[in-house]
């Protein structure tokens, strides 16, 4: 990043100029000079942070969670799991979603329509259409069922008409999305509790030596089935392990149902999740939060507020939701009228804010400029780095690669996370010395504008 146009880290204020006073651009990719540095830094942090939550999905069968939670609480696996879940679950993806929303506004702000050509709005949708295809590629070809690009593309298509809304209305929309998500979750939960209730009634009747009606027998059977689904299922685990240790075709076919299921029902029921954070990100961008425009006192305040509320909520979430649901599911259902899972969105909004504020404050304090620079590079090629995580992890864990699937312990996975982080930090800096964009960014831009984009510096 020896570009002299680039504002150097640790000089807050310069971004303001490069962010707002530039001449209106025609529909073309953002040049390096226009990038907002802090946006890249935060995106870099989020991108690396996402791997914290994704690595167990790549490396472990899902039975591992139950084993850890039901097992000894003093070992490293449990401690790592507690820390990672409390502090990071949903937050890095949340930050990433916020920056996606901010990036959308930025994309639209930076360009002006050229008469005769496609409008900026059309480019916006083309860009997302390609992102959708990349997301499917990530899920089906690179074999990562936890892909988010597909969801971002579709959620992004809904954001467009809201791009000029004022921050407070965007916050209201975010709250609305959280509310819808909450109501949907609560609906499912009360259905589940209804089944539990029916089970209790049937059992009570059984105690009184009454013969059960057909419905009551059904209720008992139904709940027993639900409870059994919560128990470890070795046959299922073994099958999964056998498939994951297989070759590419085996893993591919094994993942087709999971992938299509995620993409069908994920977007249909779960679109509120990315959407609320995107709206929030648009609002925060509008307020200047991500472009380093607010006074230090505000960032300090959001840091304190974010962590002050977020960490206790995160701990409550981890200990009550995970701790409860995985140890005795039935008792868990009996106990909570509103499940502890319901605080999910709230805790991650606060924690994400805390994380973002922390990054902004470190950036301002200029204590680790080299790290900030490296993170900015990671963030600048976030798309490449995200896909690279899939490629690396699939290659490390799946049968057609080094085949480490379910062969490492939970806490050991984080050594791999560290290694990938280091690689991405170094590789991004080096790459951007020679090239303008990451390779996938370049491909994405070229496809969006349907024209080969300049690549080398």
């Amino acid at each position: 990043m020896s570009n002299s146009n680039q504002p150097q880290p640790g000089t807050p204020g310069e971004e303001n100029k490069s962010g707002s006073n530039k001449p209106a651009r025609s529909a073309a990719p953002v040049s390096n000079a226009e990038r907002i540095r802090t946006l890249d830094v935060v995106r870099g942090v989020a991108l690396l942070g996402i791997l914290l939550m994704n690595i167990p999905g790549f490396g472990l069968d899902q039975s591992a969670y139950g084993d850890i939670l039901r097992g000894d609480h003093q070992n490293r696996d449990y401690k790592t799991f507690a820390i990672v879940t409390t502090l990071f679950e949903g937050t890095m993806r949340g930050l990433f979603s916020m920056l996606f929303g901010a990036g959308m506004v930025l994309f639209m702000l930076n360009k002006k329509d050229v008469p005769g050509g496609a409008s900026v709005g059309e480019y916006y949708y083309r860009r997302l259409l390609w992102l959708l295809l990349f997301g499917m590629l990530n899920a089906y070809i690179l074999l990562w069922p936890g892909d988010i690009l597909y969801f971002y593309a579709l959620a992004g298509m809904l954001l467009f008409p809201f791009r000029k809304w004022q921050p407070r209305w965007l916050v209201a929309l975010a709250v609305l999305c959280i509310a819808i998500g909450f109501i949907k979750g609560q609906w499912q939960w009360s259905e589940l509790r209804g089944k539990r209730e029916a089970y209790h009634l049937a059992k009570a009747a059984e105690k009184e030596k009454k013969t059960l009606t057909e419905n009551q027998q059904g209720a008992v059977a139904q709940w027993e089935k639900i409870e059994k689904q919560q128990q470890p299922d070795t046959a299922r685990t073994n099958r999964n392990l056998r498939k994951m240790h297989g070759g590419y075709a085996t893993v591919f076919l094994h993942m087709v149902p999971e992938n299509s299921n995620n993409e069908i029902w994920g977007i249909y029921h779960w679109v509120w999740d990315p959407l609320c954070m995107m709206f929030l990100g648009m609002a925060l961008f509008g307020l200047g939060f991500f472009s380093n425009k607010l006074p230090t006192s505000v960032y300090t305040l959001t840091l304190l507020l974010g962590y002050g509320v977020g960490v206790p909520l995160g701990w409550f979430y981890f200990s009550q939701a995970y701790g409860g649901a995985f140890t005795d599911f039935s008792a868990f259902v009996d106990r909570w009228r509103v499940p502890p899972f319901a605080v999910y969105d709230l805790k991650r909004v606060f924690l994400s804010l805390g994380h973002a504020s922390l990054v902004m404050l470190i950036y301002r304090s200029r204590i680790v400029p080299w790290l900030m620079k490296a993170l900015a590079c990671v963030g600048q090629m976030a798309f490449t780095n995200y896909l690279m995580q899939s490629i690396f992890c699939a290659f490390i864990f799946y049968g057609y690669g080094f085949d480490y699937y379910h062969r490492l312990r939970y806490h050991q996975l984080y050594y791999i996370v560290g290694a990938i982080w280091l690689f991405q930090l170094v590789a991004s800096v080096i790459w951007l010395r020679f090239f303008r964009f990451g390779p996938f960014e370049w491909l994405w831009r070229s496809l969006t504008y349907w024209r080969r984009q300049p690549f080398k510096k």
Binding site: P115, A118, S119, G121, F160, P161, S260, W265, I267
Partner: protein
């Protein structure tokens, strides 16, 4: 459906009560009418399950009636609507050529998002699980940027989408084939069980007959030790068979494999309990019907759309864009060409339909035999059948419109077609009120031909209403609401005073 009605643009309504896009209105109207004839079955309780019963019987006037309507309309009318929808997108963007900018895109996206919203209302509040507006809303957002492509590219993409749709049908079929293969392995093993048991039994009995004392000693059974030969044999029989049977169990995986194929076979069997269940639910109140239909609605909006809808609608939408760019809809082709395209495409489509029906009957007769003998499913070429017949219909209709016979006849379709959203939503309202339990409750009480008569009745009401409505107003009530939501301001819905009462004119 999304295209601007003549009223929305300067000079549009001045040419008469019908828009400049008369032929598109006619096609849209006919597509909507045809779709109603198919959806009235589900509205009226002539469910897929019931239709299967008819298909299994495969004789009688009722069956022939069903078959004719299915071959001619099912899938084709939605394809026709998608064709017009695609044409409408190009029209929307290209008629504002001088101001193609983000503002136009913005209005377009709002239009689509509100359409999507109307779809949710139609499906989840008005309770029509077969709603298409949701799908059109989504797909219109996904694919609209293709409107700038050249017609040749659009045609290629349309073919690609159709081939993918065929490929998915084939993929599903090959899954069925695989399931049957696994089932055969499991049943083979089961046969082996009884063979094994018999062999074991035979060995045991030979050995026991040879060494009764040793055998009795092994069994440590006093009864047997006493040497009662009858008891001995009875014991032997029991033990050896029961033991064998106990060992002869399938693993849960094998049971799943077996169950999977048996489940597949169930889709070829008439299920009378399902009918009873839906009868009971659909005659209940709103709440009960709502929860009865929710799963179906969500399945269509999410799973069907992802697996099938995007390809099925998308292919025709892209083809519609291509045809529009080739000036197919503005009647620029020669009459002979329309006639030729129409007849050839319909003939080819009917040939494919005939082939499909033939395969379908073979599938129904014995799916196991079908799966082991044939490489392709009946549904393989269905996407092409749709594409050909919808295009053929469009060409034939455009040919007829150019002949300009009986104006009033075209009005019956053009007027409801011009206010398509109103037409579509009011179809749901009329049909649900007529059939569902919270309305008049005719669900499941009418034979097939009466259902078609009800559909015709609904259409008649809509046609008359639309013709009179459009004499006074520039757009339908739902269109007005749509317009209001998009622009967030009201517009005058009446014609300017001096044009009141002018005779409808069809632009040539």
């Amino acid at each position: 459906m999304i295209y601007p009605s003549g009223a929305n643009q300067p000079g549009g309504y001045l040419t008469g009560r019908f828009s400049r896009y008369f032929s598109l209105d006619v096609l849209r109207g006919i597509a909507l009418a045809g779709m109603l004839l198919i959806s009235i079955r589900e509205f009226g309780g002539f469910s897929l399950n019931q239709q299967l019963k008819l298909e299994l019987a495969a004789t009688g006037g009722n069956y022939q009636l069903w078959r004719v309507f299915s071959v001619l309309l099912e899938g084709k009318m939605m394809a026709l609507l998608s064709l017009v929808f695609g044409a409408g997108i190009v029209l929307y963007f290209s008629h504002k050529k001088e101001e193609v900018s983000t503002a136009v895109t913005d209005l377009y996206i709002r239009r689509q998002l509100w359409l999507l919203f109307f779809g949710i209302v139609n499906a989840i509040l008005l309770l029509w699980p077969g709603d298409v507006l949701f799908g059109y809303g989504v797909i219109g957002i996904l694919l609209f940027t293709c409107w700038r492509l050249s017609p040749r590219w659009l045609l290629l993409m349309a073919l690609l989408f159709t081939i993918i749709y065929c490929g998915k049908n084939y993929w599903n079929y090959s899954d069925d084939k695989k399931a049957y293969g696994k089932y055969l392995v499991v049943t083979e093993k089961e046969k082996q069980f009884s063979k094994d048991s018999l062999t074991r039994f035979r060995e045991d009995s030979t050995w026991a007959a040879a060494n009764p004392a040793a055998w009795a000693g092994k069994k440590k059974d006093t009864l047997v030790k006493r040497g009662d030969k009858d008891t001995l044999i009875r014991k032997l029989l029991n033990d050896s068979l029961i033991k064998a049977a106990a060992a002869d169990t399938l693993t849960s995986r094998e049971q799943d494999d077996k169950g999977a194929w048996e489940g597949l076979l169930r889709q070829f069997k008439y299920d009378s309990t399902a009918d009873k269940g839906s009868q009971a639910a659909m005659h209940a109140g709103y709440g009960k019907i709502w929860s009865h239909l929710l799963g179906k609605t969500q399945g269509r909006e999410a799973a069907w759309f992802y697996r099938t809808g995007i390809w099925e609608i998308g292919a025709m939408l892209l083809l519609g864009m291509a045809l529009y760019k080739w000036h197919f809809f503005s009647s620029r082709f020669s009459r002979r060409r329309y006639l030729l395209i129409g007849l050839l495409a319909i003939a080819a489509g009917l040939a494919l339909a005939w082939l499909r029906q033939d395969c379908r009957q073979a599938q129904l007769a014995d799916y196991a035999v079908y799966v082991s003998a044939r490489s392709f499913p009946a549904s393989l070429a269905f996407p092409f059948e749709n594409l050909l017949m919808a295009t053929g219909y469009a060409a034939l209709l455009l040919w007829l419109v150019r002949l300009q016979p009986a104006l009033w006849l075209w009005k019956i379709f053009a007027a409801p077609g011009q206010m398509a959203l109103t037409t579509y939503l009011s179809q749901t309202i009329m049909a649900t009120v007529f059939f569902y339990g919270y309305g008049m409750g005719f669900y499941g009480h009418m034979p097939q031909w009466q259902l078609y008569a009800v559909a015709a009745e609904i259409w008649l009401i809509q046609a008359v209403f639309s013709v009179f409505w459009l004499r006074r107003y520039r757009m339908g009530p739902a269109e007005w609401l749509w317009h209001y939501l998009i622009h967030w301001k009201k517009i005058a819905v009446k014609y300017p005073a001096e044009k009141q009462g002018a005779a409808p004119v069809i632009p040539s």
